[in-house]
């Protein structure tokens, strides 16, 4: 559906919970259960004003996707994800995975043999 005049849809992806593989710079991989995925598909705005200071033109520029998720370790031998590792997430109903960089790895929490780690993500562009 196209966006109504004067609006731009934002954050329309649904991600669910998914099994993901992280690939770090040494090309070693690890599998995690990605949960609580919260990705923002935003934009920034440039505005131009007329002589009276009223905005009369603007343009929205896409910004890379960014967000957060929680990674549950797949088993006791899985290591915590590394910063700048690449992870591909697939939106629910979408067939194209989108690559993200892990930009922040939070504090791991453990109970009864389960471990979860919050991470922050930024879309990988190249």
């Amino acid at each position: 559906m196209s966006d109504p005049a004067g609006t731009k849809s934002d954050g329309g992806f649904v991600w669910g919970t998914q099994v993901v593989t992280c690939l770090d710079f040494s090309s070693s991989s690890a599998t995690y259960i990605a949960d609580d995925i919260d990705i923002e598909d935003g934009s920034r705005k440039l505005e131009a004003m007329n002589a009276a200071g009223v905005v009369n033109r603007k343009v929205h520029i896409d910004t890379p996707l960014s967000g957060r998720a929680t990674f549950q370790l797949a088993d006791g031998t899985t290591k915590r994800p590394k910063k700048y590792a690449t992870v591909a997430l697939t939106p629910v109903g979408g067939d194209t995975a989108i690559n993200f960089l892990i930009t922040k790895v939070g504090q791991a929490m453990k109970i009864d043999g389960e471990t979860k780690i919050p991470v922050e993500l930024d879309q990988k562009l190249n």
Binding site: V19, A74, K116
Partner: protein, 221 residues
């Protein structure tokens, strides 16, 4: 990879069942009726029960060589009983005398008491990874401090609130605190997180076996 968990056969139903169990455990913490263990009425487990059990060095919290006996079990029931009255020896002796005659055998009661305690501590906070730092206060002090700061509760109010309620509220306090600081905290749901991990593990193993079988067939062909 990018496999949606909903696509893993059987996981959706198993997760629904796990979440229902978690939901039941959490909701029952807010129902103000006495619980029952093997026909004996007990209150929901509260910090003041833990304090008293620790004072009498109950073997349910202190390891010792000799097995847990009927007297230990009866004392546990007295402390968590709705009839408990500190310092009232006459009532205690009557209660214990009557209870010792009708208690089932230890092998029946002990697992039920363990289950009651496990349910009370179901939402106990997760441990941070890495070496634990030395404690600077006891658990009761931590709870009194957290609930005093968050809800302005008195120490008595906190110590008389079931652990099963306190730990759920503590999760929300920590979630909100992290959100105010722009952080996110990971919370683990004991039953559903385990179900997810076990299903994913089994799914990945079967996918690996399938791909190895296909590779083998291709090589033979």
């Amino acid at each position: 990879m990018g496999v949606q968990l909903d696509d893993i056969p059987g996981l959706k139903d198993a997760l629904a069942e796990a979440r229902e169990r978690e939901d039941t455990l959490r909701s029952q913490a807010f129902i103000d009726t006495p619980f029952e263990i093997c026909g004996v009425d007990v209150e929901q487990f509260k910090p003041r029960h833990l304090q008293t059990l620790c004072l009498v060095r109950s073997p349910f919290f202190y390891r010792r060589e000799e097995p847990i006996g009927p007297e230990d079990i009866a004392m546990f029931f007295w402390i968590v009983s709705p009839e408990y009255s500190p310092g009232d020896r006459e009532t205690r002796d009557l209660y214990l005398g009557e209870l010792l005659h009708r208690l089932p055998t230890s092998d029946v009661v002990i697992p039920k008491i363990d289950e009651y305690l496990a349910e009370a501590f179901f939402d106990e906070p997760e441990a941070r990874s890495g070496p634990a730092s030395d404690p600077i206060a006891c658990m009761e002090a931590l709870l009194v401090h957290e609930f005093g700061a968050a809800y302005r509760w008195t120490p008595a109010q906190t110590l008389n609130t079931p652990f099963a309620q306190l730990y759920q509220l503590l999760r929300l306090i920590r979630r909100d605190e992290a959100a105010r600081q722009g952080r996110r905290v990971a919370f683990i749901n004991r039953i559903s997180s385990k179900v997810k991990r076990l299903f994913v593990k089994s799914f990945l193993e079967s996918e690996k076996a399938k791909s190895e079988r296909l590779d083998g067939e291709e090589n033979r062909g």
